[in-house]
């Protein structure tokens, strides 16, 4: 994994852990408090869950490197496969990089400094607060990591390992009318800018309940 992406993946992993904990998708006892970016975060102690998250994020990172990814999102679905919440980590600002340039890291410099940490900490705190203040999810919800690609890229690099989501124009339109956007925080690290926001479907909770 290239150094440039590591901050992305670490950030993603931390956010996922926090979201899963705060949305109570798993029992709270599975998580412990931990410190990251100089703030308190929740971290799952369950090895299977940890590995799963790690693997999913790594697969995302692999796609991210090419710069073809529009955004990565964590979507929480009810047991009827209705999407209730969607946490979007946009990656549109990662430029498209041809494959042959990816084999070696372009520059060994790690774009990691205090200001970046600040930006990341702010985002994490926002994520924590926003997720805690949301209404409780119905029972038996599930979650998945999805990614959507930029306009002119047809499929992920490792497309064999990805599932095509049941993403139709109708569901998309439905989402746009029924969901609400809660902006979280933009993380700007150098020229890379990643927007974080959350789309939730307030009426859905009631329907389920």
């Amino acid at each position: 994994m290239a150094a440039e992406d590591s901050y992305w993946t670490v950030k993603l992993i931390v956010c996922i852990h926090c979201i899963l904990c705060n949305r109570q998708l798993y029992p709270e006892s599975l998580f412990i408090k931990s410190r990251k970016y100089n703030t308190v975060v929740w971290q799952s102690r369950h090895p299977i869950l940890c590995n799963y998250i790690q693997d999913a994020v790594e697969a995302c990172a692999h796609e991210l490197q090419g710069g073809t990814v529009e955004c990565i999102y964590l979507s929480i679905t009810s047991k009827d496969h209705v999407e209730l919440e969607r946490y979007i980590f946009s990656a549109y600002s990662i430029p498209r990089i041809p494959d042959f340039l990816l084999e070696k890291p372009i520059s060994p410099r790690v774009p990691y400094s205090d200001s970046f940490v600040e930006s990341l900490r702010a985002a994490i705190i926002r994520v924590q607060n926003a997720t805690r203040s949301l209404e409780q999810l119905p029972e038996d919800c599930s979650w998945s990591i999805r990614l959507s690609l930029k306009e002119n890229s047809s499929r992920p690099k490792a497309w064999e390992t990805w599932y095509l989501s049941e993403h139709t124009p109708e569901t998309d339109l439905e989402r746009r009318y029924q969901n609400l956007t809660i902006p979280l925080r933009n993380i700007s690290i150098g020229p890379m800018d990643s927007e974080l926001w959350l789309e939730s479907r307030p009426d859905a909770y009631k329907m389920e309940n």
Binding site: P95, P98, F100, I106, N179, R185, E199
Partner: protein
């Protein structure tokens, strides 16, 4: 190890070899594997030779003569069968391949992938080729029997389509050369090619012209005029002419010779003078600077009284040349040295122009120096042909005495040469020089130490030696210094700070008339150089190569005159300055130029043309100058050392022949050994059992000692001479690094290949309409190769001296479309750094949209608060539109939902207390626009409450 040196000398072995005599069969210790292996290979070759010898004549043939082959891996027919076939047909069988180039063909049915890569540039054929050749008793084109298919090379992508047009020609040539095979050897295929080539010349020329840069094209049109071409580097006799008529060249050579003569003179009398020098430790020095008055002009007019009263200038009579020297009459009109003839003519129409008379200058100079040498002195230093420094310290006691000596010098020079000299006298070199300036013309002037300060004060700073326009400008700029008097006011530290420690000190000293430099006896020569900066006009790269070749020859001639060899070679190229016009003011001159230099070191001192020329070509190509922009070229031999006569110069490029023990018993020096070795070859070449394909070589002409040659028997001398003559032929005719005899022995197709190979390296000038020469023949294929190479070099090499931002030539998009392997090769071939390409990846920083020059949330909040305060009755609807438009853009372009949310919340907050209806409406309108923007961006509506 003696044997190692000989390893190539016996590729096929002499069949008449005598086992007992051959040193390969001597007993060896266990110490040296390399030696052992050499012996083993040698023995194997002897076996092969014996095999060939023992074979019946009927089964023998010379089919493969001159070809060495090796076999790799499994083959059908078997290894030993193939070996016999090769040897039977006169080929050289190589068992252990130590260098790929040492064998002509590798025979194998199949190559492992890694080997296939290693051998991809070599001739690898299937065993079937041998079998078929032997069956048909002629060499078949090996291309049809390739064992390794050449990989499709993507390198062609980088070239314009024009090259593809040549492809049919290439195959045509191949076809023709294969036709020639059956013909007798003396019919070179090149003759056959000539016809087709002249036909194609026209096309080729126009094609090539298309690829030229503007400056080269300009040169092309310029050189179309045969008269102009004659006086540029395009003329093969150019160098000769140039140096015959270059005054600077004459000046420098005279100076060099004079220095040497003076050195000899002083060396013989040093025992006398050195004691005097020591004594005069702190004594008053008397230095005399003697100089001719307008040397060239006065020498040219010395025998024509009537001219002496007229304004006279010395210059080449043609168009815009510079005036080298003019007499004092002419100077009255404002004419100065270095002025263009046309300007001078306009100043003084009656100006008489005189051409150079180099012989006269030399003779006058000799007279002058003989006078100086006759004058009793401590030291005589040659400054130039017409200028000298004399140290009279121990011979005179006062300036008055000095003046007497000077007067006698003047009269003696006057009677001998009919010319005037001026003399300046001072206590050091600086003062003498300044005094001389005062003394001119026709006078003597001395500066006493006590007067020096006063004298200096009224001089301008630029009059001081070593102070140029830039320094004087700097002085004026920083200190307001104009005269030396002003300069004397500045303290040492200030000067040293601005001008550096050494130069600052120098300035400080010379302003006070202090000169610490001594007249020392001449130091030995440090470099030999050839420089041409007039008439240098090239069109093609080949023109430049051709000229470099001639220049290098000239340099070698000069070096041999001085009897030196070089360790370092420096190439200097004057390149037309970026904005300089194509035609400089001076006719065919250099104009405004930037100087590029590059040098190469040699591990051992050398004077071999081949080695040096290869290096020169490397240096030249690495400078990456458009041939059309070259305005001058110079070669300089640095770190020169006296040529050691007995120095061993191995010719690594051609196989050597070593002496046989039975002929030359006892120790011999290398030279003799080599010659004797040749003698042996000459003798054995008449013998029928000698395998004629054995390549042999004579050392280059310079290595053959004439004394040794004279001692050889008559017939042998003749042989060696003939061979040397062949070697000395024009390089154009015979690729320089090839032994012509060796070449002659080769089968025709192979000879052609060898020649072509060499032509690529030697870069022969191309045959073009503009300079067609009889017998000057180069296949278009080779020409293209040269061009391609050149194109690549140009494309790839970032210029070292002229710092330019290097932009990769690879189109990223094209590259991306290619399959991965091809991408790799393209990247590798172009050597484009990934990092360079990465720069091509466009990183568009996220735009941050400003509103009323405000970007951050806090600033915007402040702005909104003021807006709200100032318009309590509700905002202007146009302002609302403007603001909501901005928020829309933040969502769509800046992609910052949080910011929009924060700003709208802020507005709501502001209005919460007063609940102004107009503002409420405005906020709702803004929210509407924002949600619309969200919709466009395909995100659900924003939570705003």
């Amino acid at each position: 190890m003696a044997l190692q040196r000989k390893k190539r000398e016996h590729p096929s072995g002499n069949a008449d070899f005598n086992e007992i005599e051959d040193e390969a069969y001597e007993s060896v210790g266990f110490h040296d594997y390399g030696d052992y292996f050499e012996r083993k290979k040698r023995k194997l070759q002897n076996q092969n030779a014996a095999l060939y010898k023992d074979m019946e004549d009927s089964s023998k043939s010379n089919l493969f003569e001159g070809l060495s082959m090796a076999i790799n891996g499994y083959t059908n027919p078997s290894y030993s069968e193939l070996r016999t076939m090769i040897i039977q047909n006169g080929g050289t069988f190589v068992q252990y391949v130590d260098r790929k180039t040492s064998i002509s063909f590798l025979i194998c049915s199949f190559l492992t992938p890694s080997k296939a890569i290693q051998w991809k540039h070599h001739k690898v054929v299937t065993p079937q080729w041998i079998v078929d050749c032997v069956r048909q008793q002629k060499l078949l084109p090996w291309m049809n029997y390739r064992a390794v298919q050449p990989a499709a090379s993507q390198s062609l992508l980088a070239f314009p389509d024009a090259f593809k047009k040549y492809d049919p020609q290439v195959s045509e040539q191949l076809h023709e050369s294969s036709e020639v095979e059956g013909q007798p050897q003396d019919a070179l295929p090149s003759y056959h090619l000539e016809q087709t080539e002249t036909k194609e010349n026209k096309d080729e020329l126009s094609n090539r012209l298309d690829s030229l840069s503007r400056s080269a094209l300009h040169n092309y049109h310029l050189l179309k005029n045969p008269n102009i071409r004659k006086s540029t580097t395009q003329n093969p006799e150019f160098l000769q002419k140039f140096f015959d008529s270059s005054r600077l060249h004459h000046l420098s050579t005279w100076k060099a010779t004079l220095k040497e003569e003076i050195q000899i003179m002083t060396a013989s009398s040093s025992s006398l003078t050195s004691t005097g020098n020591i004594k005069s430790g702190n004594k008053q020095h008397y230095i005399m600077h003697v100089d001719f008055d307008c040397f060239f002009a006065s020498v040219s007019t010395r025998n024509a009284r009537e001219l002496q009263l007229k304004p006279v200038a010395v210059a080449h009579g043609i168009r815009n040349s510079e005036i080298a020297s003019c007499n004092y009459e002419a100077r009255k009109y404002g004419i100065k040295n270095g002025m263009f003839v046309s300007t001078a003519k306009s100043l003084c129409p009656s100006l008489v122009l005189v051409d150079y008379d180099f012989d006269a200058y030399e003779s006058v100079s000799r007279e002058f120096y003989s006078v100086l040498a006759d004058t009793p002195n401590d030291c005589l230093k040659v400054i130039s042909i017409d200028e000298a420094l004399l140290d009279l310290t121990t011979h005179v006691d006062s300036f008055e005495e000095c003046t007497k000596v000077a007067e006698s010098i003047r009269t003696r020079v006057r009677t001998k040469t009919n010319c005037d000299v001026s003399v300046g006298i001072g206590s050091n070199v600086l003062l003498a020089r300044l005094a001389l300036r005062k003394a001119k013309p026709h006078n003597i002037f001395y500066i006493k130490d006590e007067d020096a300060c006063e004298f200096l004060q009224c001089l301008s700073v630029q009059d001081l030696p070593g102070v140029g326009p830039s320094q004087s400008f700097k002085l004026f700029d920083l200190y307001g210094v104009k005269t030396v008097g002003d300069l004397q006011q500045i303290n040492k530290h200030g000067l040293q700070e601005t001008f550096g420690v050494n130069y600052g000190l120098h300035l400080y000293n010379i302003a006070r008339g202090v000169d610490t430099s001594h007249i020392s006896n001449e130091t030995p020569r440090r470099s030999v150089s050839v420089d041409v900066n007039w008439g240098v006009r090239f069109i093609f790269l080949e023109d430049a190569m051709d000229f470099l070749k001639r220049l290098l020859k000239e340099l070698l001639i000069r070096m041999s005159k001085c009897d030196v060899v070089l360790h370092q070679l420096q190439l200097r190229v004057l390149k037309r300055a970026e904005n300089a016009p194509f035609d400089p003011a001076k006719y065919l001159g250099a104009g405004e130029v930037t100087t590029l230099t590059k040098s190469a070191m040699f591990t051992s001192a050398t004077k071999s043309f081949d080695i040096l020329f290869r290096q020169v070509i490397n240096l030249y190509t690495s400078l990456n100058v458009d041939p059309g922009d070259v305005r001058g070229i110079g070669l300089q031999a640095l770190k020169i050392v006296k040529d050691d006569k007995n120095e061993r110069v191995f010719n690594f490029n051609a196989p050597l022949k070593t002496p046989h023990k039975q002929i030359l018993p006892g120790p011999l020096n290398e030279q003799q050994g080599q010659n004797q070795g040749n003698e042996n070859i000459e003798a054995s070449s008449t013998c029928t059992t000698f395998i004629p394909s054995t390549p042999y070589d004579l050392p280059s002409a310079s290595q053959v000692s004439p004394s040794v040659l004279a001692q050889l028997p008559q017939s042998m001398q003749g042989n060696i001479r003939r061979q040397l003559e062949l070697q000395n032929k024009r390089v154009d005719e015979i690729p320089s690094q090839l032994d012509p005899l060796f070449l002659k022995e080769l089968p025709t197709p192979i000879r052609n290949e060898v020649k072509e190979d060499h032509e690529i390296t030697i870069n022969r000038r191309l045959k073009l309409k503009s300079h067609v020469q009889p017998n000057d023949n180069i296949p278009t294929e080779t020409a293209k190769k040269i061009q391609q190479q050149d194109a690549f070099e140009k494309m790839l090499r970032p210029n070292k001296k002229v710092k330019k931002q290097y932009i990769p030539q690879v189109d990223l998009q094209v590259l991306e479309e290619l399959p991965k392997e091809i991408q790799e090769t393209v990247l590798e071939e172009t050597k484009v750094n990934r990092y360079d390409l990465a720069r091509e990846v466009k990183m568009i920083p996220n735009p941050v949209i400003t509103f009323q020059q405000k970007q951050s949330i806090n600033e915007l909040r402040e702005l909104l608060a003021r807006w709200y305060e100032k318009t309590p009755r509700g905002p202007n609807s146009r302002d609302v539109d403007y603001f909501s438009k901005y928020l829309g853009r933040v969502i769509r372009e800046e992609r910052n939902l949080l910011k929009v949310q924060a700003l709208i919340r802020w507005l709501q907050q502001l209005n919460r207390k007063d609940k102004i209806g107009a503002w409420q409406m405005a906020i709702e309108k803004t929210v509407e626009v924002v949600q619309e923007a969200c919709f466009i961006r395909q995100t659900p509506p924003l939570v705003l409450l």
